[in-house]
């Protein structure tokens, strides 16, 4: 047998959210990563966004911890200002050459003191802020830049261009500035490559009729993101560019550069509908007076999870949605106001003035990515995105090179993150035999013993740009903190989470001999691990840290009462400091991991996930309720691109059945589950026999069901079918299919209603594909598709265009004027109002196809969710841990979700998610030991009376009663305890306490709150 020579390292090209996620996944799974970024800093497009939909989370706030994690991970080498220029060798054994442009600052020597920036005399437009503001030629791209090293813009530097100036160099006491630095080539051995180069915004200046180049108050959506952003050109104040006044009326024009074969691109950019709604929401929040917001659109494509709810909320909050594509933007007068004329949905001609207009520009591939793909011999599709297939969504045409994110077609952040993990999964699978070969182990900083030492507390207070400092008086907070007991040091930071601030914290710990640290900033949910890591690096136990949330709990919610909010923040910090004084070092448990996965559901998601986990060398138990594998996909025949689903699924089933590491249980159900991440024990009922399985992770891929409509004569008339029934007839070419002269499709039959207020995402594409098939069989057939909104998002738009071109006729109806279906002497009659002419149209179809949508029966998943402590949403879909950045993880560690169980989606997205879950599983299963929770319950046996209340209440079965002598005493199973504290609060004798949240610590906090106010 050939020995394995595969290189256990991967090159990820592009440091946006996709590249960052792929890098983190791979590093965690035992690989070395070279993260190659063209710009001086990682973060990509997401770092420049203000907020993200549909949760309105601050974009950089949720991204920044990941960027820092990347930088801290010793198995990730971030190579900035670099490009791949040459690649030789085979998959598994590539030899790559990377060209690194000079930064003119030595990355090893620079400590980002920024002295040089102060001295640089050259002011340049700040492209990071879309040139709305200026910066220095020598500058740090953004305060949160990773790596936090400034760079010199070679296009503007006086020395580099004219051999004059050179003021910066002698200022740097670390001698980090090197104006003679040259471009260099770096040779790297890598086993695989992931392309994550993203896309760019469409340049709207070709739309001469929108006057983008002429009118200052016509801006692109990216420019508007920067305008809204706290670290943007106007520091988060909503101002219009022409006169810096606050706009009272803003319009968004959708599809600029998208769905436009005249001046833009034929495809839909997938994200603009949602980001326009988001921008309208945020703009209204930022506005001191009521702001009028109007979105001009063709179809609102809010097809993703929770997106329609967001759209509905926007409508109910008064954001106007006007279905009209604007022809021309006029100057209203000389004031900078703008005028548009349009026909509304009711056919009324209107004229409206706006203070500002945002062009919702689409996404398009970057030329450097196109060039690189061509150079590497990777096929591009008609739109210059990477060509892929529905079944291999993250593979390029060249083996060993994978792709994720918007370079692979326009998509949003969660889809990008899922693709990133899926691409990582492909690379990890290819290189599985070399896992762990090239990893470096982090040097453990010896922990300082603080026992018996009096607390010396340092307090770090974050401005969060203007998120906090825009409301609270930071100066007062710092002064107040300095006076608190045990506080020996307090300071404020523009961004406490930035990489350079971590260095500052470490320095201050040393300088002031701090043994407790309090950070007053945002939420511990996203940022606590980052600061704890900083403490660890400074030689302090990470549990000697306390976080105070003065953003979500204070500045954001009390924006309108800044003085009282400052007082509240003081109290919160006081409380944090009081608790910090009582913190003790904690040692988390190290737990063995059961290296096996349980996959629940044998549809495409479950099959793919099983295969990808097993191919990485881990045992898989695959459980299917029915007597055969394949799930819903067995009822489909083609993808929207015409790929053969049946053959694909049969291939998967064959591989799964033949895989030595996969054990399949048919006719099986989960009866019971115990244990936690790393060590679960699940009881299955297999053909009426119970059996127990031990595993470290769970993949939930339980799928969904078609909705059976109760309207449009379904079930009453033989010629009314639902999509799946139609598919079946279509594949069999039944007489009905062959002889049909007229066919009507009715969309949203059961989706986007009061009962099911979500979009099933797949139906528009599916019906159009079916309609085209009918045309193929009989070109003379007349097909009518009655729809509410055509949501052929992304590159699927091609199919919609093709359908219209081939004569398929589309009529829009509204929810309050639905098509009427009647049976007259057994013949079907459909009446629908034409949305353009406003007149009723009568069609006598041979049959009707209802796009009936996808739903989950609550009774099918409720028990499972409860057993594994996952949450379901109102529609019984499994909730992910974070809609943006953790799309395939459930809120419970070690439980992952893929496919329709998460939300309706097409097969390519299901496969992507399945591969992403396989990556997540492998990250855990590839470790020998797992670090458990340290903040867990403990029992004071002297006080325990053995009453057993705690054992009954513990949702995790983590407390048990044990006999000690004659008495029963409670005892905590450390590996199972989650530290929720239910036992502690119910213990009648106070015998149970939770470390890190002890009764005395909480009492101290309460007392600290009362100190000043006498409560």
């Amino acid at each position: 047998m050939r020995t394995n020579n595969k290189t256990g390292a991967i090159m990820v090209i592009g440091g946006g959210i996709g590249g960052v996620q792929a890098s983190l996944d791979l590093a965690k799974a035992g690989f070395r990563v070279y993260l190659v970024e063209k710009e001086p800093t990682i973060g990509g497009m997401m770092a420049r966004l203000d907020k993200t939909f549909p949760t309105n989370d601050c974009s950089i706030c949720i991204l920044s911890p990941k960027l820092n994690e990347c930088e801290r991970d010793i198995n990730i080498d971030i190579i900035t200002m670099a490009e791949l220029i040459d690649l030789e060798g085979e998959p598994g054994e590539f030899k790559a050459t990377v060209k690194k442009r000079p930064r003119y600052i030595d990355e090893e020597k620079c400590n980002n003191c920024q002295m040089c920036i102060n001295y640089c005399p050259t002011i340049i437009p700040d492209s990071y802020n879309e040139n709305f503001s200026t910066t220095k030629c020598l500058h740090l791209v953004t305060p949160q830049a990773v790596p936090a090293i400034p760079f010199i813009d070679p296009n503007h530097c006086l020395f580099l261009n004219e051999r004059m100036c050179k003021i910066c160099a002698p200022v740097c006491k670390y001698e980090a500035i090197d104006l003679y630095q040259e471009e260099k080539e770096i040779a790297l051995d890598v086993g695989a490559i992931i392309l994550a180069m993203g896309s760019k915004c469409f340049d709207p200046s070709v739309y001469k009729n929108y006057g983008y180049s002429e009118f200052k108050n016509v801006v692109t959506s990216m420019e508007f993101e920067r305008i809204l952003n706290a670290s943007g050109p106007y520091e988060g104040h909503l101002l219009r560019p022409s006169d810096k006044t606050e706009p009272k009326k803003i319009a968004w024009l959708q599809c600029v550069g998208s769905r436009d074969i005249n001046r833009g691109h034929g495809y839909c950019s997938s994200v603009c509908c949602m980001y326009a709604i988001k921008q309208a929401f945020i703009a209204r929040e930022h506005s001191s007076k009521p702001l009028d917001t109007a979105i001009f659109f063709m179809d609102m494509r809010t097809a993703g999870k929770d997106f329609d709810a967001y759209f509905e909320r926007a409508k109910s909050e008064g954001i106007r949605f006007i279905r009209s594509r604007i022809h021309t933007i006029f100057p209203a007068d000389e004031s900078g106001d703008l005028l548009i004329r349009y026909i509304d949905e009711n056919g009324k001609f209107k004229e409206e003035k706006f203070d500002m207009i945002v062009l919702s520009v689409g996404l398009e591939p970057k030329s450097d990515a196109i060039n690189l793909a061509k150079k590497l011999g990777i096929k591009l599709n008609e739109n210059n995105f990477i060509e892929n297939t529905s079944f291999e969504p993250v593979k390029t045409s060249r083996p060993g090179i994978y792709v994720c994110g918007t370079l692979n077609g326009p998509k949003d952040i969660p889809s990008t993150v899922a693709e990133a993990s899926a691409a990582a999964c492909e690379a990890a699978t290819l290189l599985a035999p070399s896992r762990g070969r090239l990893v470096r182990v982090k040097e453990v900083v010896p922990e300082k013993d603080v026992s018996g030492l009096p607390p010396r507390i340092g307090v770090f207070i974050c401005h969060c740009g203007t998120n906090i400092a825009g409301v609270l008086s930071i100066k007062e907070l710092v002064e107040d903190a300095k006076k608190l007991p045990n506080v020996v040091f307090a300071m404020d930071n523009l961004y406490t989470c930035s990489t350079d601030t971590q260095e500052v914290i470490k320095e201050k710990i040393k300088e002031y001999d701090l043994n407790r640290v309090v950070v007053a900033s945002c939420t511990p949910r996203t940022h606590q691990p980052l600061f704890q890591e900083t403490l660890r690096e400074a030689g302090l136990n990470p549990y000697l840290f306390e976080m105070v949330n003065i953003r979500e709990h204070c500045s954001w919610v009390h924006r309108k009462a800044p003085e009282m909010a400052t007082e509240k923040a003081k109290a919160l910090i006081r409380m944090g400091v009081a608790k910090a004084g009582l913190l003790r070092p904690l040692k988390p448990l190290s737990i063995d991991i059961t290296k096996a996965a349980l996959v629940i559901g044998g549809g495409v998601a479950g099959l793919v996930s099983s295969l990808m986990i097993a191919d990485q060398g881990f045992k898989v138990y695959l459980v299917e309720r029915k007597d055969r594998l394949g799930g819903n996909a067995l009822r489909f025949h083609d993808t929207w691109r015409g790929e053969d689903v049946t053959a694909y699924v049969n291939g998967l089933i064959e591989k799964v059945n033949g895989h030595p590491l996969i054990e399949v249980f048919l006719n099986a159900e989960v009866l019971n589950a115990e244990g936690f991440v790393g060590n679960f024990e699940t009881t299955l009922m297999v053909k009426e026999k119970e059996m127990k399985i031990r595993h470290g992770v769970v993949i939930i891929a339980t799928g969904a069901d078609p909705y059976k409509p109760k309207e449009y004569l379904y079930g009453e008339h033989k010629d009314v079918l639902i999509s799946l029934e139609f598919d079946d007839e279509l594949s069999k070419r039944t007489e009905r299919i062959k002889n049909a002269k007229k066919v009507v499709f009715i969309q949203c039959a059961g989706s986007r209603t009061k009962e099911r207020p979500y979009c099933s995402k797949v139906c528009c594409t599916h019906s159009i594909y079916g309609a085209l098939k009918l045309k193929e069989i009989n070109p003379d057939i007349n097909v009518y598709i009655l729809y509410r909104e055509i949501r052929t998002y992304g590159e699927r738009e091609r199919l919609y265009r093709e359908a219209r071109k081939k004569g398929i006729f589309f009529i829009r109806y509204s929810l309050n004027d639905k098509p009427k279906v009647e049976s007259i002497n057994g013949k079907l009659k459909v009446v629908v109002k034409d949305h353009v002419l406003g007149i009723p149209i009568e069609i006598h179809p041979d049959f009707i196809v209802l796009a009936s949508g996808i739903m989950v029966k609550r009774e099918n998943v409720e028990k499972l969710a409860k057993l594994y402590k996952c949450t379901l949403d109102d529609q019984s879909f499994f909730r992910e841990a974070h809609v943006k950045l953790r799309p395939v993880e459930s809120s419970t560690d070690g439980i992952y979700i893929a496919g329709l169980a998460h939300y309706p989606k097409p097969i390519d997205e299901t496969i992507t998610q399945a591969k992403a879950t396989a990556m997540k599983a492998a990250e855990l299963l590839s470790k020998e030991k797992m670090i458990g929770e340290a903040a867990i319950a403990f029992v004071n046996k002297d006080l325990c009376i053995g009453c057993g209340i705690c054992t009954d209440l513990c949702p995790f079965h983590a407390v048990k009663l044990e006999r000690e002598g004659k008495k029963m005493k409670a005892s905590v199973i450390s590996a199972s305890c989650k530290g929720c504290g239910i036992c502690a609060v119910h213990c009648p004798t106070g015998a149970i306490d939770v470390s890190y949240f002890t009764n005395s610590q909480i009492k101290a906090q309460i007392e600290a709150f009362g100190v000043k106010d006498g409560i």
């Binding site: 009729n209 005249n262 006029f330």
Partner: protein
Amino acid sequence: MEAIELEKLSIVNYDANLCLTCSSCVNGCPAAGIDGLDPRKAIRMYVLGLEEELVNSKWPWVCTLCGRCAYACPMNIDLPGIFKYIRSLRPREKVPGVLHKGVINVLETGNNLRIPKDDYLMLMEELGEELANECCPGFRVPIDVVGAEYLFFPNSKEVFGEPDDMKWWWKIFYAAKASWTIPSENWESVDWGSFTADDEASKKIAKFKVDNAKKLKVRYIIAPDCGGSSWGFRYNYEKYFKDEMKKAGIELVYIYDVLIRFIKEGLIKIDKSKHPQLTTYHDPCKHGRILEMNNLKPYYEEPRFIIKQCCENFVEMYPNRGNNFCCGAGSGAWAGPYEKERVYYGRMKAEQIRNTRAKLVITSCSNCRDQIMKSLKKEYNLDIEVKYIWQLVADSLII
């Protein structure tokens, strides 16, 4: 309301069903709303098989085929092409107004107004003498001069009713000492066949020009100033006559090409100070947008160059060039019977002109000029003077 029963969709050509019903055409069309119709509705009717209703409506004739709808159409639908096709479906006897009569006339007599050859020749001789006496000693109108450089076609409207308007061009030719001629037969400049969507007639009218050019062995044919007619000729030229003309060494030029050559080569001298007032320019659709949309070179910068040679203060109207509003009189609407609609249509033009605060409006199409000068100025109380671009040049000449 009675429901229309859909039997068969009538999608034949033109990819009309590509329509996303997005409404950008409606939002950009000054004729939208007239008789409750608009470009999107018209396309929808066409696709739904309501062709007859559309053919019988006056809307396709109120529409000036200006192409502003198609300019912004995200699906690149050739709306003017479709509307022209709808015009072609009108029985000829039901073509609105005098347009079809003009077509019959030109095919039978060589000009729209049946002006007899003798009258025409006599007028040219007399008018030539008049100009010679006024300011151009020795001037004569050159008729049928074989081997002349430029072949110029008179507009029957001027020959019949506004003969003095011909003198501006003559003055320029005189000042430039140009070698030029006009034909004695089949001399009509304009092409109403293109207005009535009578492709056959339009081709014949174009052939008159080509045959004259070949017979007179000229170097250049000057395309008609009239926008629709220039496009009618250009369309046929590109489709049928290009090779033939090339072989004969004859080139098609637009009025701008001629004027710019005269200016750039110093053949004429111009005094800018004669037009100190604020001046704006109206882009005729068919000299700009329609050419651009047919992948031909649009004349946007040339007229501006010429005007800036003659005027001290130039201001653009908004929008301009490819996105300019049609005056409302194009594609036969000036000669057509729908006056009220034409004036309504022109409101956008009037507003554009008013917003510039210009006192002098220049244009280079006879329909645009007539609509602005004779109709919109009065209807919308515009305090302006209107000139042809060649009139501006003639008035600025230093002779």
